[in-house]
Symmetry: C3
Subunit: 430 residues, 3 copies
Amino acid sequence: MDMKKTVKKSNDVMAQRLYAPYAKAEWGFINHWYPVKFSNEIAEGAVVGAQICGVPLVLRRSKGKVYALKDQCLHRGVKLSAKPMCLTEDTITCWYHGFTYSLETGSLVSIVAAPDDEIIGTTGISVYPVEEVNGMIFVFVTSDDFDDEIPPLSQDMPIRFPHNNERFPHPLWPDSPSVLDKNVVCLGIHRTGYANWRLACENGFDAGHLLIHKDNAIVLAKDWAVPLGIKPVSDQATQLVEDENGPKGFINMYFTEHYEPVLENKLLNVRAAGTVPKYFRTSMFVPGVLMVENWPEENVVQYEWYVAITDDTYEYWEVLVKHCENDEERQAFEYRFKNFYEPMALHGFNDCDLFARDAMQNFYADGSGWNDEQLGDMDYSIITWRKIASRYNRGIAKTPRGVAGVVKGASNVLAEIRGDQPGAIRDKAE
Amino acid sequence: MDMKKTVKKSNDVMAQRLYAPYAKAEWGFINHWYPVKFSNEIAEGAVVGAQICGVPLVLRRSKGKVYALKDQCLHRGVKLSAKPMCLTEDTITCWYHGFTYSLETGSLVSIVAAPDDEIIGTTGISVYPVEEVNGMIFVFVTSDDFDDEIPPLSQDMPIRFPHNNERFPHPLWPDSPSVLDKNVVCLGIHRTGYANWRLACENGFDAGHLLIHKDNAIVLAKDWAVPLGIKPVSDQATQLVEDENGPKGFINMYFTEHYEPVLENKLLNVRAAGTVPKYFRTSMFVPGVLMVENWPEENVVQYEWYVAITDDTYEYWEVLVKHCENDEERQAFEYRFKNFYEPMALHGFNDCDLFARDAMQNFYADGSGWNDEQLGDMDYSIITWRKIASRYNRGIAKTPRGVAGVVKGASNVLAEIRGDQPGAIRDKAE
Amino acid sequence: MDMKKTVKKSNDVMAQRLYAPYAKAEWGFINHWYPVKFSNEIAEGAVVGAQICGVPLVLRRSKGKVYALKDQCLHRGVKLSAKPMCLTEDTITCWYHGFTYSLETGSLVSIVAAPDDEIIGTTGISVYPVEEVNGMIFVFVTSDDFDDEIPPLSQDMPIRFPHNNERFPHPLWPDSPSVLDKNVVCLGIHRTGYANWRLACENGFDAGHLLIHKDNAIVLAKDWAVPLGIKPVSDQATQLVEDENGPKGFINMYFTEHYEPVLENKLLNVRAAGTVPKYFRTSMFVPGVLMVENWPEENVVQYEWYVAITDDTYEYWEVLVKHCENDEERQAFEYRFKNFYEPMALHGFNDCDLFARDAMQNFYADGSGWNDEQLGDMDYSIITWRKIASRYNRGIAKTPRGVAGVVKGASNVLAEIRGDQPGAIRDKAE
């Protein structure tokens, strides 16, 4: 019998109506700022490709500045990044037919073999605003018809400290640095996850998923006192952030009277372990950026982004930020990152999260999961996120046209997996 | 010109109407008993996953008994088997958020981090009856809304001997043992085939496919006199089994006056080879189990199951059964199985069948094969099977929701083929 | 903003209407002659499979003659080529149930195990005309309902010389040999490309794509003076070929007053390199065969075919033809082919074309590219091709039934990539 039918769900029809836009955002939220590369991934002159919310992007660094254009030549639709060609410092040229675009405006400034073509100057490809800050490159990814004013990067980032100390008190740890601060160092990794980006977001701040980290080596090594779970006990547990011209999101008020740690489950005979108090706080902001304060250690904060690539892949960003006043502090942070944070936290600990998100994908891939899931009280913050994301996103990305990932199981994708090279001779037709 | 159009087919519109339900059963027949694992594949305490008719199953052995539940946590839909977690002997816990289910009833008995959640006791996941007999584990796979009485395993198994000796005489070989008999040993293998389960069924008892075995090593080694084919010469050739509260299927009455061996094809100048008479008989039963009596050798019977996993994959089961009165006989059977039956029969001989079934898949994958196929007299038993299966199946499995295999060419499936691990760092977005 | 919307395109709605049939031909043009194998790929007695325009083909050479039949047994739809079985010189037998077809007519002449079946002689599979000439095997691939007269191979081949010298003067190079000439040797390769066949066609004669060859080793080694591009300066630049009962296509009148080489792009500061004049001419004919005269060297001509396999794969044929009056000349040509033409021209040079075509596939795979592409003056010849192909093709291939490549991401295809063998034992169901 189907017991599911009989039970009360937090994601009932009423709730689903309140986050309907979110449920439609398979391809992500468009017209937002997203991280695209670390600064050291784009050397001077380099041309690299990426895809965000189904929008193919080509990035080039010229005279120090990074430019982002649509990675789809308007002529025959090939990726400029497939075979980089740059003939001047101010342009990028399509390797196929020589269509040459201004890095600044995206307009077609010349065609290598047709300098006098009348099409020149009358058309072009979309360009996207880029901000480079403290070793990270952000791009404002827009739909082709976007023509509003471009909001500052800070609107798509977490709230900052000490600015918000009074509003969101945190007596238990030092002020968290921000990617946008002066004198900070940002160190991290990014990799592709095989799930929808929303499933990744919801894992990040999920108060109920501590269980998957119970046995992590870093937890045992540091003897952290991690509760079995954290239970919201007032409607203040999750506090909204709806700053005009500022971040939109919410904060889980852990380690306040609004949350109660769950230390034991008698029926199942499980008890929280660890003796060293471990204080932290998670908050989540549109378009999908997580801040974990006081993590993995004091004076460090962990940011995470879950950036839609296609409707079933996302780029997972893990970035640690720390104030470093001088080279010595920077080197110490880099040393600790390479030898401790990266292997034990960003991998050892967060690999469990990556696994968990990908494990949800089959349930949601055909769309049925959004109705069949059965959320409860512990998912309070997830419902909160879905609603606020529905209210404040700047657009639902459309299913893209002519982009990899739209046609599932396409032969060119399988050929790449098979390792077929254009040079290979095969006389079997299939 | 399309000569197909002009010809008379056994699968004409009239016939197709009589087995319409079968033609709709892409995902298999639900509400039946199927083999899921061999006993030695689930050790005490072990948790393993499987999928049958699109239903994900998680199996756990606790205190000797095997339990089967739906392998899809009602909360976020992950597989419990993806990362086994068991906190008590009577429950299985979802590794992600700690939802804990009773092995007996499937009801939600606790949540690790929310012992007092009011949802507890009000919901649960489906459980499935399990029978373990003579080294095989069977599960009764149901739709979520099934609430009839559960039929005995014997109803979904072949008829038994000597009970049916008078009804279906077989003077040419000893009584075939049954998986359900006392003092039998069942030895076999199972593996995934890449075709629809129905194509596999139809290969098993197909009187016309002897040709693919003509050159098999075991046939030559034993010098078996295998005819080119066996031709039905009366409408008694195929005898129906429609026992009330018993098996439903049919028997090919080989080596009776109802069948005539074809020993020669003059036009093609082919002749049957072999000098040693080889007697056997095939019969097929709902939901898709084949019995080959007196095979591969005297006193042994071969059972085969073709169990739908998805609409284009099935689990192929090959099981040999023999009466063994003591350890010595058991050891002799195990020795002969490992060194002769498994390599030369279950592989050497039946690998040709696996190949043949998979070779049909492209023709049927888009659904067109069910109309375009051109069956003739030799397919008499196949039409018989389709009709009886249509009449006696207990339900057509629906296309599942939120299950692997529904979305073809999904990125997470391709990633697994590519060997991508959650731990891998990739900075290319596509 | 979407600058694309504002601009004039050569592929405007009006133009698109004129080549609508072409835009529908995902699976190719049916009822045409296509190369299927080189003669040395089918030895006496050999049976090989191929697929053209979604039509599965099985080829057998018997008593020197090559026969082509539909590679789909009418009984259960398996490929005869999956496991070749030939019992007489005049027939091919299906390995599964012994259905035996006449090589000449395709009619069912016997069934191994049912020599008296009344279906015999009443049905059969399609056969396809075959022509073998100068080391190449061509097949006339038809729809099942084709019953017109079969046109000569020459109608689907390029125009010939010297026959057309006056009509299409070429003072700059010797007369190009033809595959159909006496005393010619044809040497080449063929391989699978992962794009739609039309994208491959359009790359072949594309006057605007010289850029991708600018840096090719053969160009530098021979110091060829290759312009940046070639610009049509009169409406005579592209001359139509619409011979009654003859080839249909067009010629790019390079190196005449109708084309102007572009040697420099001042804005981008690029200049054509090379000092050795290099004369050649491209022409394209229905159903998709390119002729490059005087290429790669004098007295040699390069033919290319782009043969649809599925809607997203095609077979790429590169064939060099040369008159050889005696064995010595033949050996010299073979020597030069193996050691120079194949590695540096057919690979080094044309690999760039293969790459370019496959790079377009994502843009066109979902059908959107045919509207979103933005063609200009340089694409004059591409529009010409689309129109003439729309006018003179003998049929648009339908999406095939029951053929590999129709269902994308099918499990049996993924299994083959994964390297799963029928013999493998796997007890995980997924």
